[in-house]
């Protein structure tokens, strides 16, 4: 086919020909079988490969059409059609049941949420309770270790801490931290807990972050104390998130974290 004929057919298919050109074109289709054949193929290409269009059959009959027609009308096909219809009905029935169950589950979930929301409202004391129940000061390592430059200061800090004199503890520890990095993890723990007890929440959070970032063996304890801090602050969202982290990563006190989570959620 010449590029001229090609363009002509294209313009016809795109409706770009004038009335006169159009009738000339259609006359040629009637009188020129070869051109007609080319046109039909071109039209099929146009319609098939246009994602918006579809190329319909223009044949009235052919062996292939008759054979398929017979097959579609056959008894066997009717049986298959019935089976497909049956599958469709079963599928829809299952979906309905699932939907009903889903409604049931979702309403149960909503009730559960409502209950927990209402529980949150009066959960102030219980979170405080969880905090004090879980703050185990017996578990702390000793502040005083061998080789410390100023062991007297640390002995003093330990005593003050045990006597709940947190402000003074903080003072000594801050000074000690400036001069020595020895027994760092223990210092951070004593310092952070003192700050937490005094409700210096930002400082406490900061200290526990330092502990976490210290890469010391006790670093993971930072998460646990942070969780306690959030409980004390009644920040349930952060508390739960931190406790879940402890539980899933099996960090220090993850069993206790799990217990608290059960109380919280």
């Amino acid at each position: 086919m010449s590029i001229n004929d090609d363009t002509l057919i294209e313009n016809y298919l795109l409706g770009k020909l004038s009335g006169e050109e159009r009738s000339l074109f259609e006359q040629r289709l009637e009188n020129d079988p070869e051109f007609n054949k080319k046109f039909r193929f071109e039209k099929q290409l146009f319609e098939t490969l246009d994602p918006e269009d579809w190329s319909f059959s223009e044949a009235d009959s052919s062996d292939e059409i008759s054979a398929y027609k017979k097959l579609f009308a056959s008894e066997k096909t009717k049986i298959i059609k019935k089976a497909i219809g049956e599958a469709n009905t079963q599928y829809k029935r299952d979906r309905k049941i699932n939907r009903r169950n889903w409604l049931l589950y979702s309403s149960a979930a909503i009730i559960a949420i409502l209950i927990s929301v209402f529980t949150w409202y009066d959960s102030g004391p219980s979170m405080e309770q969880l905090y004090s129940d879980n703050l185990d000061l017996e578990d702390l390592p000793s502040l005083v270790t061998r080789g410390e430059d100023n062991p007297e200061d640390l002995i003093r800090a330990q005593q003050l801490f045990e006597g709940r004199q947190y402000l003074k503890t903080i003072e000594i520890l801050n000074t000690s931290l400036k001069s020595s990095k020895k027994n760092l993890a223990a210092k951070y723990q004593y310092l952070g807990i003192s700050q937490m007890e005094l409700n210096y929440t930002d400082d406490a959070e900061n200290t526990f972050t330092l502990l976490i970032e210290s890469n010391l063996i006790d670093a993971q304890k930072g998460h646990w104390y942070k969780a306690l801090l959030y409980l004390k602050m009644k920040d349930s969202e952060k508390a739960i998130k931190t406790l879940q982290k402890i539980r899933s990563e099996k960090l220090y006190n993850y069993k206790k974290a799990n217990k608290i989570l059960k109380e919280l959620i």
Partner: protein, 187 residues
């Protein structure tokens, strides 16, 4: 492709339990497509059933091989049947023909052969060079030449036209050489 055979056999045997699995796996996507394209849930159900029937009958007649996954193929058939449905009003010939024939079997017979043509043309298109494929896809999607010129970096519309012409010639040659074309050319 073991699953393909499993599904094809389930369909030819009329095993509704297995067919239900096909619904569970594939119907949601088809429904989504049809709802997004001017159809209703009833249309989606109708198209899905017709597609399954088309595949089954075709498999019974010619034991054709599904080259992709069964799921992907089923989705394509559904999309095409829906495209066909949407274009039916435009197609006078089919409409008159169907009015004369007045039965579903004829329509289904034509649909399966049209699907075969669609497959032949699209497979042929995938065989030509990437560049030609790109140009022709734009061309057949009715992209104006001015846009094709820009997208392909041609110098002028004349160059674009020549390129389209040459690519179409290649495509035609591939289609005509395919043994399937003989059965379809009278369609």
């Amino acid at each position: 492709m073991i699953n393909n055979l499993r599904y094809l056999n389930a369909l030819t045997e009329g095993n509704s339990k297995e067919v239900k699995l096909l619904y569970q796996k594939n119907f949601p996507n088809v429904k989504k497509f049809i709802l997004q394209n001017k159809g209703s849930i009833e249309d989606a159900e109708d198209i899905f059933q017709k597609a399954l029937l088309q595949i089954t009958v075709r498999y019974r007649k010619e034991k054709f091989v599904i080259k992709s996954s069964f799921e992907a193929y089923l989705y394509t058939v559904c999309k095409n049947l829906w495209r066909r449905e949407l274009n039916k009003s435009k197609n006078k010939v089919t409409k008159e023909y169907l009015l004369e024939q007045g039965d579903e079997s004829s329509d289904m017979a034509l649909a399966v052969l049209e699907q075969k043509r669609w497959e032949l043309f699209n497979e042929s298109l995938s065989l030509i060079s990437e560049n030609c494929k790109k140009v022709l896809k734009m061309f057949f999607s009715k992209t104006p030449y001015s846009v094709i010129v820009e997208a392909m970096g041609y110098n002028s519309e004349v160059v674009a036209r020549q390129r389209v012409f040459k690519c179409k010639r290649k495509l035609r040659a591939i289609i005509i050489e395919d043994s399937r074309y003989n059965l379809l050319k009278e369609l």
